[in-house]
Symmetry: C2
Subunit: 383 residues, 2 copies
């Protein structure tokens, strides 16, 4: 059932991603009590490696919930009803974050951008001049729906810190795949998912919390399951307040060990090179990358579906005939783009296999591609 069996599809969607056998096998360890010594040793090791991953001296936690639950947890802990939260909206996941803020009773102050764009530090600063009493800036660092990364995040962190505003970052689809030193960049609460750049199965959220953030969190009315103060108090004895998803904790432990073995810098570089190969290949096939240069993500590759091509059919052929699964669009650009996850365990062979499947499927539907042009372009970056 491993990655190499003949009928096995390569999963190149922007999460969940392919999980190495080492990580899958870790889930077979026997069940343990979450109030016993084995679990405490496990959780302690996970948190130590999470601090490395987040590059933080602050507190880190694992929540049994998918990324959306983790982001809602962060919002619920930082935002009280009536609080103004500045939020750039430039894709489906920033729309969702705005919705979570609104449902929490917060007042979203929007910086509205086109899909494919990223907010800049200047835009944030101008909005802060107009709107007083902003309590939190909430940023989706990597918009999974459009393949855009907010490259100004370090500068936005400086602005937030200078003004005494907390910075909440949704890094679900980027942590572990691109630079994000949360302490250095003044990120107060950062949320990631297990199933993206960590090459771990879905079901866990990872959350970092700065010292500065606690003073606010202690004064918010927190929902029960998301209560970070309770998580902190249980963390002191290396436990979680509620029963954790033990097999996923085993998997995360193994995935984090793999990350430490590789090292963050090498891992980021691998993602960068693979993404560059994807972008070159897409362009060599005459397709248009969706985001403008300068904000393109190293973890999610978004490009336009050529006019007249049936995108669903291309993806069906890729899946059924060539055994590679990529994603269509999401939100407003659902039918306009394709998206490839360039995450986690992504490697040169994965890139070549995916580009080759894309070339073939496009040819199958009658779209004119120069045979091998995409693969050659990818190779020129990879080798």
């Amino acid at each position: 059932m491993g990655r190499d069996s003949p009928d096995r599809c390569l999963i190149m969607v922007p999460g969940p991603t392919n999980v190495p056998s080492r990580v899958l096998r870790a889930m077979m360890k026997p069940m343990i009590s979450h109030r016993g010594p084995e679990f405490r040793t496990l959780y302690r090791g996970i948190l130590e490696n999470l601090r490395y991953l987040f590059q933080t001296e602050g507190e880190v936690f694992v929540l049994t919930a998918s990324g959306t639950g983790g982001v809602e947890c962060a919002v619920s802990n930082l935002v009280n009803p009536g609080d103004k939260v500045l939020i750039p909206v430039f894709g489906l996941f920033s729309e969702r974050m705005r919705e979570k803020i609104a449902r929490r009773g917060g007042v979203p102050v929007e910086v509205k951008l086109d899909y494919g764009e990223a907010p800049t530090a200047d835009q944030i600063e101008r909005m802060l001049e107009l709107e007083k009493d902003v309590k939190v800036i909430a940023i989706v660092y990597n918009e999974t729906s459009t393949g855009v990364t907010v490259r100004d995040l370090p500068e936005i962190g400086r602005i937030a810190k200078e003004r005494g505003i907390l910075l909440l970052v949704d890094a679900v689809s980027i942590l572990g795949g691109d630079k994000l030193p949360v302490d250095e960049w003044n990120v107060d609460v950062c949320v990631a998912g297990s199933q993206k750049c960590l090459a771990c199965p879905p079901g866990l959220s990872l959350i970092s919390v700065s010292e500065r953030a606690w003073r606010r969190i202690e004064r918010t009315e927190r929902p029960f399951y998301y209560d970070l103060v309770a998580m902190k108090s249980f963390r002191e004895r290396w436990e979680t307040p509620f029963t954790p998803a033990i097999p996923l904790f085993y998997a995360l432990d193994e995935a984090l060990k793999i990350i430490r073995e590789e090292g963050l810098e090498k891992r980021f570089e691998r993602h960068r090179v693979c993404s560059e190969a994807f972008y070159r290949a897409v362009e060599a096939l005459g397709l248009e990358v969706f985001p403008r240069r300068g904000v393109r993500s190293n973890t999610v590759i978004a490009f336009k579906k050529p006019a007249g091509v049936d995108g669903a059919e291309v993806r069906r052929l890729m899946r059924e005939r060539y055994k590679v699964v990529i994603a269509g669009g999401a939100g407003k650009v659902r039918d306009l783009i394709f998206r490839i996850g360039c995450m986690g365990a992504v490697s040169s062979p994965d890139v070549i296999r995916t580009v080759s499947a894309l070339e073939n499927a496009l040819a199958d539907v009658g779209y004119p591609v120069e045979a091998g042009a995409g693969v050659e372009a990818a190779k020129s970056v990879l080798f």
Copy 2:
């Protein structure tokens, strides 16, 4: 790493429980996209078997969160700020439910009982005479902290239905181990956990929703991750709104197949017989069962720690010397009782091994036990 390896502890806490190898192995299946055909087939099969488990024609859902998250989800969907919720409080988990209601802004109307007691239909009815405008009755069907089951639940369901009040049931530690036909008993929203009587790993909540409940749910302000209306709309195409914990879905699928193969009636009877064996054994050892007769649980066995015995030491000896893990108390009775999980895959050999370990550990700390008395008493029930 299976259940039979020599150093392997038997996990007899009230969740997580021992997971059969078939279920563990299911988690090794390859990662899939949660927006693809494989996932839809998987989820559809799970939901069909969940309807069998809940004995309902209503909607059922799987939420990636532990039981506490599932119960909070139910509360958030049924209770608006200001709503009165009648809640009997008779242990840690009913205290937690009360706390969730309060944090949601609801007004908990308490029926306070001693630990070890269970609310009766009469008590509920009397409280409803005193308190007008109760919108929801919230019941913990099986108090995991005290080993108590609310045997009047069917009658409470009739009362709720007659008065047009919704009935929310926390069945986290009992569904699959004892009778709970949610349609027949007029349970409007029922929540269970994957890691208890289903013999599946922790990390998923299972939720059933009656037709009647939808009319209320549609009018509440629901948090994003817990939104049952969104879950229903995605369910129509056999998807979840957010990335599900795929390996745990594989495990749940397998665990539910095992349940159908055994059949609910046989499964309930197995739990009943094993629990009866535990109760007889405990009494044969001269120990006192914690709850009174008539409300004792078939899934959680709670009994008093004998005076003068160091409970932590008994449990340490059981774990380290005899390889059986049981739990101490929780909440107010933390240091006063022991608890044994009699759940999921529990079998005669598990009962014998656990009782034998308990006997031996008690003897080791100098508590006078008649050697073999517990095991003999258990055997007389089991064989």
